[in-house]
Structures are given as structure tokens and as C-alpha cells.
């Protein structure tokens, strides 16, 4: 039993190694494909968001103050970011049934222009390997993760923006 379990794990890791060597750029992670609802109840496939350019996926919750600081800070610059890089931000709320009703109140109350998706039972969070919120991913136009960061401190948004510029300039060449 134990040997077999070990074998399985060994096998999985071999696969992981192979996938990373030959697969996608950077850390080889692609956005997971799941069906989530937006605040209006429309079903959205996370791997087929319908955006053309790069995408930022940011996991947050109404009870997570650093998450809100991050998204509020980006909100102030969002129009410029969009004009310069064509980026779209998807804010994935991991609020469960207790605080789910507060999501549209907060999002519209502060006036965010992001696509907001609801992940009340943490399925997308689990699939993306998120331990804690905030966790922010930068995806290229093909859905490959090119940068991710599991924290927010003032100034982190500029680091993210630099990676975003690097990505869009790289794609132009």
C-alpha cells in the first residue's frame, strides 16, 4: 500500500518535471479551466474569459484588507494600465455564503471596473494552488502564468505593472 502510494507520488513528480521542461514558459502553469459565476449570475469559463490581451487574476475577499488595498490602488491606475497594455483584471472573490452578499455592495460601492467572479466553495482557489489571499497572477494572452505574488504591500502594484509592461513589450517584438 505504502510503496504504491510512493510510486504514485514519484510518478506525479516526474510528470511535473517533464511538464515544466517541455511545457509552457516560465513556471509552466496555465490558468485552470472552471465554470464560475460573475456577480450577475452569468457563467464564465476561467480559461476562456474572452479577453484579447494579458489578464491579471487577483484572489480576494471582503474580509481581507490587504486584498482591498491592492485592488483599490490598482483601481486608481486601471484606466492608464488598460490604455497602455490592454490588460483586464479579474477579481475572484473567495467569500463564502456568510459574506457573499457583501461582494456587490463593496465592488459597486467603491466603483471597481473589474470582472468579478464568485468562488464561494474555493474550487478555483484550490485549482490555482492559492494558499492565502491576496494572491495575484499575471497571465499572457494564451493563459500562461508569467508572474504571481502572494502578498500585498504598498508598491507591489508597481512591480506587477513592470512585469505587465515587460510582457506586452515582449509580445510586440
Amino acid at each position: 500500500m505504502k510503496k504504491l502510494a510512493l510510486l504514485l507520488i514519484g510518478f506525479t513528480f516526474t510528470l511535473a518535471a517533464v511538464a515544466q521542461e517541455e511545457g509552457n514558459p516560465d513556471d509552466g502553469k496555465k490558468v485552470a479551466s472552471l465554470q464560475l459565476e460573475d456577480m450577475e449570475g452569468n457563467v464564465v469559463n476561467t480559461a476562456d474569459l474572452g479577453f484579447e490581451g494579458p489578464v491579471i487574476i487577483s484572489f480576494w475577499a471582503t474580509w481581507c484588507s490587504p486584498c482591498k488595498r491592492e485592488l483599490n490602488t490598482i483601481h486608481e491606475e486601471y484606466i492608464d494600465w488598460q490604455e497602455e497594455t490592454g490588460v483586464n483584471l479579474v477579481a475572484v472573490s473567495v467569500d463564502n455564503e456568510q459574506t457573499r452578499g457583501r461582494v456587490p455592495v463593496y465592488v459597486n460601492g467603491v466603483g471597481w471596473d473589474y470582472l468579478v467572479l464568485m468562488d464561494p466553495n474555493g474550487d478555483f482557489k484550490r485549482a490555482m494552488g492559492v494558499n492565502n489571499v491576496p494572491h495575484t497572477f499575471l497571465l499572457d494572452k494564451n493563459g500562461n502564468v508569467v508572474y504571481s505574488h502572494n502578498n500585498y504591500a504598498s508598491g507591489d502594484e508597481e512591480e506587477l505593472y513592470e512585469h505587465l509592461l515587460e510582457l506586452t513589450e515582449g509580445e510586440k517584438e
Binding site: M1, L4, A5, L7, L8, F11, T12, L15, A16, V18, A19, Q20, E22, G23, D27, G28, K29, K30, A32, S33, E40, G41, T62, W63, C64, E76, N96, E97, Q98, T99, G101, R102, P104, V105, V107, N108, G109, V110, G111, N121, G122, D123, R126, A127, M128, G129, N131, N132, H135, Y147, S148, H149, N150, N151, A153, S154, G155, D156, E158, E159
Partner: protein
């Protein structure tokens, strides 16, 4: 049997990889937390005999086209403090194999799932708290046409993890759920402004009758219906659930039916959000073991109806845990942004948030002695039939404002009343604990990479009926955080119980932490004294003992 499962997994993984002609994708995450604890007689913190404690887990998910599989290895050597005491050893804590296309999604093994708002079924995890109630069995999700989704689940719930093995709760859980989005399912309604979604679920559990003195129902069913309406900026949704006779330790083996109802209404437009909600619950603890208590083996999720607070004195001293045996609760919230450029709003705009929540006990009308003796129906009650015993009340207001490019501030006030006789959080206090809490938070950006954040919190507790200082008296907390973006943080927190009626307990709880963040990797170290109390994350709470020592943690996502 187990061997066969693993061989099956292995074979499937291999064929999955081969038949698709590519290597698929591996994702996952890991966490390791190490604690070294000291003896601290002032706060009654004990040093475990092992001195060092270690919790670890790693999730590995594999997807290849339509095929998916995943495992989690867990290890408790031994478990860290505050974790459920039934976790030990190292082994496979979760595993599944599945296949998904546009029409069908099948999972065999461990799976998480929620029906509607979870009133009769929610299998979920919260690793911070040691919660994990996945079902081990089979799940099928069908999407026969656009806007229609049907789910079926069948399995045994994970209850604990002992000597490196999953231990299941005794009752088998079965259920199905259907949901129709009318605007998508019926083409004629596609462009209507009124959006309607309807759904219904049925769940049943089976546990053998283990009592000789009672005839216990071995199969206990529960059913629910729900609806969601949306018209422009307005929303209205609700769910109503009924549980059949379910005698258990929780309800003193009564044969009453249980109910739970949840209603939300809201209106939002840019710059303004309003919501009101109401909940009615009686006799609705639904567990995969009738003898379980506290947060154990719960099949359903009864969401607490109060805001989750994050400031230390507000969140950890007197938090409220929902009462599954019965409560009627209400919540209202307004969030408004005073526009930028206006006299009140200032250059960047100012956000004001008002929130009110309250909970009362259900009204239980007496029944005849004959009903009690022959039917074991102990009382009668109805939807929103509440009595006047206050369980909880929370009035809070927050104002956030950015003053200039460098300075942001947030001012908060909380008035909280908690009935400690019902929702016990303080060991020695009686009656309703009434507190006023004020918090000032400031964030200051020194330059692009360096920033400071500080919090000052004060809690004032009202005297008890006899005019004595209630519970532990007044507190102040100061937090200072220094960030170097994007890699470093340093923070110090001091909670000072200056108002404790026992002089030797007027102590400082100082906790310092530092962390290094590199992309998706976080390494943190913390040292100091932490208070005993209820620890709430994501709407569920558990008691943690007082501790004094070192905590190291590493998380990584891949």
C-alpha cells in the same frame, strides 16, 4: 481494496498522459508550519512534551485535456497547537480522478461541493482551521443544455486523519441538486431584463440505529428550494430548507422537523451598495454522525449573518459563532463613496460603510405532555418565530479616506453585544458582554518601495449587572508594520490588557513577525505571546489555546 484503488489511479494517470499525446499540466501548493513552544505560567500556556510541532501538506493537481487527478499528502508530527486533536501521522489525505467535458463532469474519490447556499449540503475545507469535510465517493455533474445543471453526490465524509489515514464519519451521505437559469435555458427569455434562476436539492444520510431505548430514523432526508431574481440594479434571492426527524445529541434526541431559510435583497449602482438579509434557523444541525458536536461532521453550512471583522480586538475577543440549534438573524449594510472632488469627498473620494447585524433565539411554544412522551416532539415553532433573547448585535461604521499620495487613513467604530450564556466565548463571564471598540489605521508610503502601516485599537467593556468589571476588562492594541515591496515585511503587535481586574493579568501580549515573499513563495517567522480565544477565519471559528513561542511557516504555490 486500497491497493486496487491506487493501482487504478496510477493506470489512469499513465493512460491519461499517453492517450492525449502531451504531458498535461501540474499545479498545486504546499504549506509547512513549525512551532516551538515555551511554558508561560502567566497566560497558562503549556509546553508540549515534544517541544517542536510540525504540520505540512502538499496538493498536487494534474490535468490533461479532459482528464483530471489530484492528491494531497498530509503530515502531523505532531499537529500544531489549536488544530483538532485527532490529526496524526503522515499519509495520503485526499485523492481523486475525474473526467470533464462540456456535458459531463465525473469525479471518483475525494470531492468538495456545495448545493445552493449550502443550507443542506456543503463539503468544504479550510486548512487554516483544520476543517476538511470532503466526501469520499462519486460525484457526477451534468450540463444537458445551456443554463441547466444537475449534480449528484454519494459518499462518506472525511472526519479525521489518524496515523496517516483518512477516517470517515459513520453516516453515508447521498444527494442531488438541480439548477435552471431561465434566461439561458429558454431562448425567448434571453433578452428580458428580469433574470431568474431556480434550484432545488435533496440530501439524505444513513446511519445505523445505535440506541436500544429509542427507535431512531436511520435515513434522514432534507430538501430545499431556492430562487434568484435580478432586475437592473436590484437583486432578490432566497432559499428554504426542511430537515426531517433527526434525533441527535445536539437536539437532545427530539423528533422535531428542522428548518432553515435565508433571504437577501440588494441594490447597487456605481458608488453605492445596499443589502439586507434575514435568516431563520431551527433544529438544523445536520451531521454525518448523530453523536458529533461542535463543528464536527457537519453536512450543511448555516452561514453566520454578521460581518467578518479583521482588526485583532474586534475579531478575536468576542466573535460570534452561528447557533445551528436555532437562531433568527438579520443584517443590513450600506457602502457609499462620497465622490472625489466634492467638498466632503476630498481629492480622492471618501468611502463610508455602515453595517448592522443581530441574532435572536427561536420562540419555542410548549406542546402537550403527550406529544413529548409519545412522539418526542418537544416544542413548536415557525419561520421567523423568535423570542426576545438577544444572542448578538453589532453596529459598526468605517470611514476610509486617502489624504494625499502618501497617506491613507481609516476610522472605525464598533458596538458589539454578545450573549455569553448562549454563544460562549469567555470562560468566566456571564450574561451579555457589551463592548465599544475604536480603531484608527494609517498607511504611509515613504517612497516607491518602502511603506509603513499602523493600527491603534481600544476596547472598552461595560460592567456586568453587579457593577463589577466584566470578563477581562479593557484592552488596547497597537500594530506597526514596515513593508519593503515586493519582498519583505516586519511587524510588531502589542495587545495590552491594562483593565484586567486581576492585577497579575494586566500583561502585554507582544508578537513580532517578519516575512520574505518571493513571487508565490512566502516564508514567515513569528515570535511572542498569543492570547487564548476564539479564532475565526472565513466564517468558522474554533478555540485556540494561549501560546508563547516561535512559529515558522513556508507556503509555496506552483
Amino acid at each position: 481494496m486500497k491497493k486496487l484503488t491506487i493501482v487504478g489511479l496510477f493506470a489512469l494517470l499513465s493512460t491519461g498522459a499517453m492517450s492525449q499525446g502531451n504531458n498535461g499540466t501540474i499545479t498545486g501548493n504546499m504549506e509547512s508550519i513549525f512551532q516551538y513552544l515555551n511554558e508561560d505560567s502567566v497566560i497558562n500556556a503549556n509546553q508540549p512534551p515534544e517541544k517542536g510541532l510540525l504540520n505540512s501538506y502538499i496538493n498536487v493537481f494534474y490535468t490533461n485535456g479532459k482528464f483530471k487527478a489530484g492528491i494531497r499528502m498530509e503530515s502531523y508530527l505532531p499537529r500544531i497547537q489549536g488544530y483538532p486533536n485527532r490529526f496524526s501521522g503522515t499519509g495520503l489525505g485526499m485523492r481523486y480522478v475525474g473526467y470533464e467535458n462540456d456535458f459531463i463532469d465525473v469525479t471518483i474519490g475525494s470531492f468538495y461541493e456545495q448545493f445552493g447556499s449550502g443550507l443542506i449540503f456543503r463539503a468544504f475545507e479550510d486548512r487554516n482551521l483544520g476543517y476538511d469535510t470532503f466526501l469520499d465517493g462519486a460525484r457526477v455533474i451534468l450540463r444537458p443544455r445551456d443554463g441547466v445543471k444537475i449534480k449528484g453526490v454519494y459518499g462518506l465524509m472525511r472526519f479525521s486523519f489518524q496515523d496517516g489515514q483518512i477516517v470517515h464519519a459513520p453516516a453515508i451521505v447521498r444527494g442531488f441538486d438541480g439548477e435552471v437559469n431561465l434566461n439561458r435555458a429558454i431562448p425567448a427569455l434571453k433578452d428580458k431584463k428580469l433574470k431568474v434562476t431556480l434550484g432545488g436539492s435533496f440530501v439524505s444520510k444513513f446511519q445505523e440505529d445505535d440506541r436500544e431505548d429509542l427507535v431512531l430514523p436511520e435515513n434522514v432526508g432534507s430538501y430545499s428550494g431556492r430562487a434568484k431574481f435580478r432586475y437592473k440594479g436590484f437583486t432578490l434571492d432566497g432559499e428554504y430548507a426542511i430537515k426531517e426527524q433527526d434525533p441527535s445529541v445536539d437536539n437532545e434526541f427530539n423528533y422535531n422537523y428542522g428548518h432553515a431559510a435565508l433571504f437577501n435583497a440588494g441594490y447597487t449602482r456605481k458608488g453605492l451598495g445596499i443589502s439586507v438579509s434575514a435568516k431563520s434557523v431551527d433544529n438544523m444541525s445536520y451531521r454525518s454522525d448523530r453523536n458529533a458536536q461542535l463543528q464536527d461532521a457537519l453536512i450543511n453550512f448555516l452561514p453566520p449573518m454578521n460581518k467578518i471583522h479583521t482588526y485583532n480586538l474586534v475579531a478575536s475577543l468576542y466573535p460570534y459563532a452561528t447557533q445551528p440549534v436555532g437562531e433568527m438573524a438579520f443584517q443590513g449594510e450600506i457602502l457609499y463613496t462620497i465622490p472625489r472632488g466634492s467638498k466632503l469627498g476630498g481629492k480622492y473620494g471618501t468611502t463610508v460603510n455602515l453595517n448592522y447585524s443581530t441574532a435572536y433565539g427561536p420562540n419555542r411554544n410548549a406542546v402537550t405532555q403527550d406529544m413529548i412522551d409519545s412522539n418526542r416532539v418537544f416544542y413548536e415553532t415557525g419561520l421567523f418565530d423568535m423570542d426576545d433573547s438577544l444572542y448578538w448585535q453589532d453596529i459598526n461604521v468605517q470611514i476610509s479616506r486617502k489624504f494625499n499620495k502618501k497617506l491613507k487613513m481609516k476610522f472605525s467604530y464598533f458596538n458589539i453585544m454578545l450573549n455569553n450564556d448562549v454563544a460562549k466565548v469567555a470562560e468566566n463571564a456571564k450574561g451579555v458582554l457589551s463592548t465599544n471598540i475604536g480603531v484608527i489605521e494609517a498607511g504611509y508610503k515613504i517612497n516607491r518601495k518602502h511603506s509603513l502601516r499602523a493600527e491603534l485599537q481600544a476596547l472598552f467593556i461595560a460592567d456586568n449587572k453587579d457593577g463589577e468589571i466584566n470578563d477581562q476588562g479593557n484592552w488596547v492594541t497597537a500594530v506597526l508594520e514596515y513593508n519593503v515591496s515586493p519582498n519583505w515585511f516586519f511587524s510588531v503587535m502589542d495587545q495590552y490588557n491594562y483593565g484586567n481586574p486581576v492585577e497579575s493579568r494586566q500583561v502585554h501580549y507582544i508578537y513580532a513577525s517578519a516575512g520574505y515573499i518571493y513571487g508565490a513563495t512566502r516564508i514567515t517567522a513569528g515570535y511572542g505571546r498569543q492570547r487564548a480565544g476564539l479564532f475565526c477565519v472565513g466564517g468558522v471559528c474554533r478555540f485556540v489555546p494561549a501560546s508563547n513561542g516561535l512559529t515558522l511557516s513556508i507556503t509555496h504555490s506552483f
